[in-house]
């Protein structure tokens, strides 16, 4: 399914580029040109990455990551449009398979002074959180994040059309995804997790099977953002209509995980506060398949909000702090309807701390990002050291460290996945 979609997108982009080229060729080349006459740029990197689990995990392999990756990026432009294709060829020794991951393949054009259009496979991001997402409901790849791939892989691509309008009164982005793009969620394939049906930690022995909404145009997603900058403050309103991006419920026979309907309405502000940057963001998660909160198989509606602040606290030394809350809305219904012992806390609170220090003329970057939940009593730490040995060569070591009091909390369930990794990347 994914492959056919990839092929379809590649074909469309090639067609669009081919259609675009004759007009240009007439200007430049009397012999009549084809695609090859376009000014094409090729860039990318080659990377080797290896990582091991630090704790025994009977549900997963000891190797947490072991892969070779070649990323190629091709871009070109004509008078009226830009084209970009970016894909990774991956040799994955953990899953013992080769893979092609098409990350971007889009056409970008400016049909009017006040309008931008981007169509195709693209990475999309908005919102103000740092590694916390409230109103950004574009697909994430948590598996890549936890096994130690580069942070760029936390964002999974969307197959979408993004139309943006720019006016003095404000700017509007509308993203339409004709077929639901879920997260590359945690399925048990690479990371062990808490399986509530089994009541224990599980992994490859209990891969999560899902019933994913996948009808074109009927199971679509639409996301919008209205934003404006006033002085040095960035204000935004958000809306989303689609589905929970990771499994958020079970079907009635409890055999498959499902992605229930979800609508989100939110707002954010970001700007200068004292010597640093402050941000506030909130979102109302309307779990449309269980508005009353009575269905124990489907996630309840929630309010999510965060406050963040970052500041330089020394030379080339920055600190970022965030406080984040997920607040369940129909908690009494949730408690009433769920079997005793399985109920969740009303609130999940999270504190994050980011510390980044640059050394050796910024060639050496040391950072730690820590999530700590006082309600779940769990911790997730992401230490990372990156050294630029030359303009092209980067060496990296890092870890994904999980602690938890309980095996069923969000980070606590991953304790046996604690891993360290190292990588070498040559960019060109």
């Amino acid at each position: 399914m994914i492959l056919t979609k990839t092929q379809a997108i590649l074909t469309l982009i090639a067609l669009a580029a081919a259609l675009a080229s004759p007009a240009l060729a007439q200007d430049n080349d009397p012999n009549g040109g084809v695609l090859w006459d376009l000014p094409v740029e090729l860039h990318g990197f080659y990377e080797m990455r290896a990582g091991y689990r630090l704790r025994n995990d009977k549900h997963e392999k000891d190797m947490s990551i072991m892969e070779n990756r070649l990323q190629l990026e091709l871009s070109t432009f004509t008078e009226w449009a830009d084209f970009k294709g970016k894909g990774d060829i991956v040799g994955d020794l953990v899953e013992e398979q080769g893979d092609f991951d098409l990350r971007e393949a889009y056409m970008f054009t400016v049909p009017r002074d006040y309008m931008d259009v981007k169509i195709g496979r693209q990475i999309l991001t908005w919102g103000t959180g740092d590694l916390i997402f409230i109103n950004d409901l574009f697909p994430k790849d948590w598996q890549s994040f936890f096994i130690g791939r580069d942070p760029e892989y936390l964002k999974a691509p969307s197959d979408a059309a993004k139309v943006s309008f720019f006016t003095k009164a404000g700017n509007l982005d509308i993203v339409y995804t004709p077929q639901f793009d879920p997260d590359r969620f945690l399925s048990g394939r690479r990371l062990s997790y808490w399986n509530s049906s089994l009541g224990r930690l599980a992994g490859q022995d209990a891969i999560i099977h899902t019933d994913k909404p996948d009808r074109w145009f009927r199971d679509s997603e639409i996301a919008a953002r209205l934003y404006k900058t006033v002085g040095s403050y960035e204000l935004a309103l958000y809306g989303y209509r689609g589905f929970w991006k990771s499994p958020a419920g079970l079907n009635s026979t409890r055999s498959q995980a499902v992605f229930p309907d979800l609508n989100v309405y939110g707002a954010s502000i970001r700007g200068t506060v004292g010597k640093g940057i402050g941000n506030l963001e909130a979102g109302y998660y309307d779990s449309a398949d269980d508005r009353s909160g009575k269905n124990p198989l489907i996630n309840n509606s929630e309010i999510r909000y965060l406050a963040g602040y970052s500041q330089e606290i020394g030379k080339d030394f920055t600190m970022g702090l965030q406080y984040y809350v997920e607040h369940m809305l129909n908690y009494s219904e949730h408690k009433k309807n769920i079997p005793v012992g399985l109920e969740r806390d009303r609130q999940r609170r999270l504190i994050t701390v980011r510390l980044t220090k640059l050394l050796m003329k910024q060639d050496l970057a040391c950072s730690v990002f820590t999530y700590f939940s006082p309600t779940d009593e769990d911790v997730y730490m992401r230490p990372n050291v990156r050294y630029k040995a030359s303009d092209n060569l980067t060496l990296e070591v890092g870890g994904n460290i999980f602690f938890g009091e309980h095996p069923d909390t969000f980070f606590g369930q991953f304790r046996n996945n604690t891993n360290i990794y190292t990588a070498v990347r040559y960019s060109f």
């Binding site: 960035e234 010597k275 500041q311 910024q362």
Partner: protein, 269 residues
Amino acid sequence: MRIELVTKLLLVLGLSLPAFGQEKPKSTLPSVEQIVNRANLAAYYQAKDGKAKVKMTITNKKGQKRYREFIILRKDIKDGGDQKYYVFFLKPADVRKMVFMVHKHSDLKKGDDRWLYLPSLDLVKRIAAGDKRTSFVGSDFLYEDVSGRSLEEDTHEVIETTDEFFVVKNVPKKADTVEFSYYNVSIDRKTYMPMKMEYYDKNDKVYRTIESAKVEIIQGFPTVVKSIVSDLKTGGKTVMEFSDIKYDIDLKDVFSERYLRRPPREARR
């Protein structure tokens, strides 16, 4: 009467009498405020906007070299006042297409607004204004060398006037916020271009210099096309070379989130 008229005309044209070859009376020398103001305009505010391609060669004590290449767009909101900068990275490969944007505020109470755009994540990041005397992209140039140091942060005094230069000594008003105890700038008397800056440490020793190694007239504007900073303490050196310089290019307001996510034509072609 004739002379008065000519004088008036010359004043309007912005020329000064000594150009006529008359005996130079001391009182016609510009004041130190005039000198530093004109030097600030010459170094950072030529024309109303402009673009350039910048190549940086960073050499460390051992002779190892690193390269940076970027396109820089600038637009002045007010001469000598607020400005907007847009930096589009071309090299090295791992930062290609990254964008760094600054809304510079001349009001000292107001920190600059800075953004960074990371294309692989489509992420618009706001960065805290922070210390302006930290390295710009790992080079020996500091943020402040690239976008200018506010004149209000120092007291200024002309310590020497030669046939070619005014030498101005600049002493920081808040000594604890900077690493130098003072710096001297040699300003070209004709173009008002700062040609050499020497930074002195607490022991009155020069430890850092910036030289305008090559100045060209571009569209009528004297322009530094090669600048060299030497760090005498670390033995490091960075050469910054400018090419494809264009002034008054009628830049639209490309200094917004729209153009962070999608670099303007001026930055790409």
